[in-house]
């Protein structure tokens, strides 16, 4: 479906890192090797949660060169729609699951003379794989990692043990903050900055770097939005000739898939543009939440990203 290859895996290990974050490890069910990947790649994990099939993207954090097992880390989100809760509460060692082939929308720029990583909380995960990749090829990198507290600092010990000179950790509860302007000002020409974390942090880093004269091409970020719940609404799908209901707890994309209609996707988080869908007719208001469409496109009423965006109103007809 949708051009993404799937892999049957078995859960081989579950490690609770702290109050919020748990690591899951997968091996192939058929005992063969997993595909290699590049640092920054994610996999889409399929969860059979009762009647609902959830597809959530998680960054691969294991060594990209290691083909025996993949690892992801999942932060529990008690307010979310239940994907992370499903992983935390319902998945056990030995379970069979389906994951996608690795997809990389947050790739290293291998021309960079230096890689500057800025992570907030669970945003550390793609960097763990990128650091392993760079280490193997003697890449030059630095990490600035901001966590809420020592007890919630996932992988801090591992990083500071193995990379004491490259790793810089900041704890919110100790009022430690990255001195971003100074950090950016000091970087040699050819440095690329990568940021992954909460939206506020991403905006802060992107805007500050831009103000400091950094070229757009040297600023990289990844933020997967989780779809937010909302009021139920009705959609007419013109191509498949169906009228479907989007429930409170599901995304428009999930509702389309539930009806057995093949819709393209890659990130399921409003970033990659793959699920972009043309609007044929509407009467009501769009709730656009993606990073893909521009402001003009949001206002135009001609396009929607069904992975994260919703609709409130009477009529919505999509070209799907």
């Amino acid at each position: 479906m949708s051009g993404i290859e799937k892999i049957q895996v078995v859960v081989t290990n579950i490690v609770r890192l702290n109050e919020l974050v748990t690591r899951f490890e997968f091996k192939r069910t058929d005992g063969k090797l997993l595909p290699t990947f590049s640092g920054g790649a994610h996999t889409v994990v399929e969860m059979q949660d009762g009647e609902i099939t959830r597809l959530n993207p998680y960054s691969l954090m294991s060594d990209p060169m290691c083909q025996r097992a993949y690892a992801i880390s999942v932060r529990r989100d008690d307010e979310g729609r239940g994907g992370s809760l499903f992983m935390h509460n319902k998945v056990s060692v030995g379970d069979n699951m389906v994951i996608s082939y690795p997809i990389n929308l947050f790739s290293l720029d291998l021309r960079a003379k230096k890689h500057l990583f800025i992570a907030g909380g669970i945003g550390i995960t793609p960097f763990l794989a990128q650091i392993k990749q760079l280490d193997r090829f003697n890449g030059y990198w630095n990490l600035h990692y901001s966590c809420r507290s020592e007890s919630l600092g996932s992988y801090v010990d591992e990083l500071t043990d193995q990379h004491p000179n490259e790793t810089h950790v900041y704890y919110d509860d100790k009022d430690q903050q990255i001195d971003l302007v100074k950090l950016l000002e000091g970087q040699p020409l050819g440095t690329h900055v990568y940021v992954c974390g909460p939206k506020g942090m991403i905006d802060w880093v992107c805007n500050t770097a831009s103000k400091e004269g950094w070229p757009r091409e040297a600023i990289h970020y990844e933020e997967f939005l989780a779809p937010k719940p909302g009021k139920p609404f009705e959609v007419k799908l013109a191509v498949s000739g169906k009228v479907i209901q989007v429930g409170e707890q599901e995304s428009l994309l999930e509702a389309i898939e539930r009806e057995g209609i093949d819709a393209p996707y890659l990130c399921r988080g409003g970033a990659c543009g793959q699920c972009e869908t043309a609007v044929i007719d509407y009467a009501g208001n769009f709730i656009h939440r993606d990073h893909w469409l521009g402001e003009d496109e949001h206002k135009s009423g001609q396009k929607i990203m069904p992975c994260v965006s919703r609709f409130e109103g009477k009529i919505l007809v999509l070209d799907r």
Partner: protein
């Protein structure tokens, strides 16, 4: 001097703009000949407090006016080749956020852009403004030799002697347009040369 408007062309052909100051911790301005006028247009006293200027007069008399802008450093030299080590030094000392402004002939802009790209600045982030001669820097696709300041089409490769027609296909890496043998399918039948934009 009035600015030349290049005809619309294919996607590999560079497009030049008008220099405008952008925020950044430092500025590097490189120009030849009449490109000096573009620097004079964009320069402000505040900008000059953190600016380096590299200038190749090529017979024009703007050097003193540029120097009196009082940049942090000023260099005036006889050729691009002579200026190269100076340019590389400024780039290797620079930090992220350096703004690069290039003005003058296509040959100068292309070569300096290449040096800035080598230093790690994406080409889109480098500002360029064309001034002065419309001559092109041409690479002969056959012998790989570069012929500078080509104004006519076809022209004779100064390395291998073939008659080449002037393409709009442009390589940033070589900072040159492509020249291809014009009489390969009809040896000796070489049309009369005319100006590239005639």
């Amino acid at each position: 001097m009035s600015k030349f408007t290049f005809p619309e062309s294919i996607k590999s052909r560079p497009v030049y703009g008008t220099l405008a100051m952008r925020d950044g911790p430092a500025h590097l301005l490189v120009a030849d000949g009449h490109g000096a006028e573009a620097i004079l247009d964009v320069a402000t006293p505040i900008m000059m407090t953190k600016a380096h200027i590299i200038y190749l007069p090529k017979g024009e008399k703007f050097a003193n006016r540029l120097r009196s802008l009082n940049p942090i450093s000023f260099y005036s030299g006889p050729s691009y080749s002579a200026a190269t080590s100076r340019l590389v030094k400024v780039l290797s000392d620079a930090k992220m956020g350096l703004q690069v402004y290039l003005a003058g002939t296509e040959g100068l802009i292309g070569q300096a852009q290449n040096a800035a790209m080598e230093a790690g600045i994406p080409h889109n982030a480098i500002q360029t403004e064309h001034r002065g001669s419309i001559a092109r820097r041409m690479q002969c696709v056959h012998c790989k030799g570069i012929t500078e300041d080509v104004e006519i089409d076809p022209f004779i490769c100064e390395h291998c002697g073939l008659s080449l027609f002037v393409r709009d296909h442009y390589s940033r890496r070589l900072a040159a347009y492509q020249g291809v043998c014009i009489d390969a399918e009809d040896p000796g039948n070489i049309p009369k040369s005319k100006g590239i934009y005639e």
